[in-house]
């Protein structure tokens, strides 16, 4: 069970609830979205519209492992683009293809606020400094 959090009242709490469900299930399936809509008494189309609008919500199951490359300004200046290309070649996946090779996927992420580590690479949720190729 997720800890009780003081959510704002619906419909304002929709995004919070979506975050919570994604944390529980890894992604937001149609079934999950339908349940959220029913729970918050919101139109299903509206819930889907919000969930699909934000990049942080995943509507398809993620690969078991995920590699993120920060494309924030500091990271870009320190070679994030080249790093992403090298990493794509190494893993044999396309950048920002959520399906990846079934095991790994490679995505770009926005600034993580860890600019001191630039260029930042996120391995399964753990940010770390990477060497630009």
């Amino acid at each position: 069970m997720a800890p009780e959090t003081p959510f704002p009242q619906p419909p304002g709490r929709l995004i919070e609830v979506l975050h919570q469900r994604q944390q529980q299930h890894g992604h937001l399936s149609r079934t999950t979205l339908a349940m959220v809509a029913q729970e918050l008494r919101l139109p299903p189309a509206h819930v889907y519209g919000v969930a699909s609008f934000y990049h942080l919500f995943r509507l398809t199951p993620p690969t078991p492992h995920r590699c993120g490359i920060c494309f924030g300004t500091a990271c870009l200046l320190r070679g994030a683009a080249a790093l992403a290309a090298a990493q794509a070649q190494r893993l044999g996946v396309r950048l920002d293809d959520p399906a990846g090779d079934g095991l790994w996927s490679l995505e770009t992420v926005s600034c993580l606020g860890a600019c001191g580590l630039a260029p930042v690479l996120v391995m399964d949720g753990v940010p770390r400094r990477a060497e630009a190729p």
Binding site: R30, A34, P43, A45, G49, S52
Partner: protein, 221 residues
């Protein structure tokens, strides 16, 4: 209600205070094309076709959501406004797939009217030719995403008047598209009452009644 007088292209008109400037334009006999605007629905000021220049304002303002006030002087036909309006219509044509000749709405289409209004004889931007779908799952109506300009009239009429909330916009940017329910075939959305209001307000041929489409062209679910 207080009445205000204002000037539209040097014509003086009187309208109730606070009404949208579009009403003042109508009173002055100036017709601007509008696509997202519908008099019975909440305004979204999304299409930007009704932009006017208001004296003293730092930028053009959409007439559909700008309130009429005493002494306003506005222009609707400056070269900048005309060029901008034409470019907007060109972009709408380039963004979707709009072959008028084979469209059921040909001759009864607000996008076509807008193109005629701005004098569009050529689209100066490259066509995107997006790959889109047709949803023929509803027994009475058809949805052709190729012809959708994302004005959101259908979303609003279903939400504000019918109260069925069938429609929404999904994704963002150039991937934005109209969805029914949880991005499912329209015919499978339980809350749809088949009232046809969305079809009635659609400015293009994106939402049409089956009976208006020549027989035999579409399969029936």
């Amino acid at each position: 209600m207080a009445v205000v007088t204002l000037q539209v292209n040097d014509t003086t008109v009187a309208v109730p205070a606070g009404v949208p400037l579009l009403q003042a334009l109508a009173a002055a006999g100036v017709a601007l094309p509008t696509l997202c605007h519908h008099p019975r629905l909440s305004p979204v000021a999304a299409c930007r076709l009704c932009l006017v220049e208001l004296e003293g304002a730092s930028r053009p303002l959409p007439a559909c959501v700008t309130a009429a006030a005493e002494g306003q002087r506005l222009r609707t036909d400056t070269p900048a406004l005309q060029a901008g309006r034409r470019l907007i219509v060109e972009l709408l044509f380039a963004e979707g797939n709009h072959p008028c000749a084979v469209c059921v709405a040909n001759g009864d289409c607000e996008l076509q009217d807008a193109a005629r209004h701005v004098g569009m004889d050529l689209v100066s931007v490259p066509y995107r030719h997006p790959s889109r779908q047709v949803d023929a799952s509803h027994p009475l109506f058809l949805l052709d995403h190729h012809r959708c300009i994302l004005c959101s009239r259908c979303v609003r009429v279903c939400d504000e008047i019918e109260g069925a909330h069938v429609w929404a916009m999904a994704n963002r940017g150039s991937a934005t598209r109209l969805i029914a329910g949880l991005d499912q075939p329209w015919g499978t959305v339980d809350s749809c009452t088949s009232c046809g209001k969305c079809v009635a307000v659609c400015p293009t041929g994106a939402l049409v009644a089956r009976e208006d489409v020549p027989l035999g062209r579409w399969p029936t679910p």
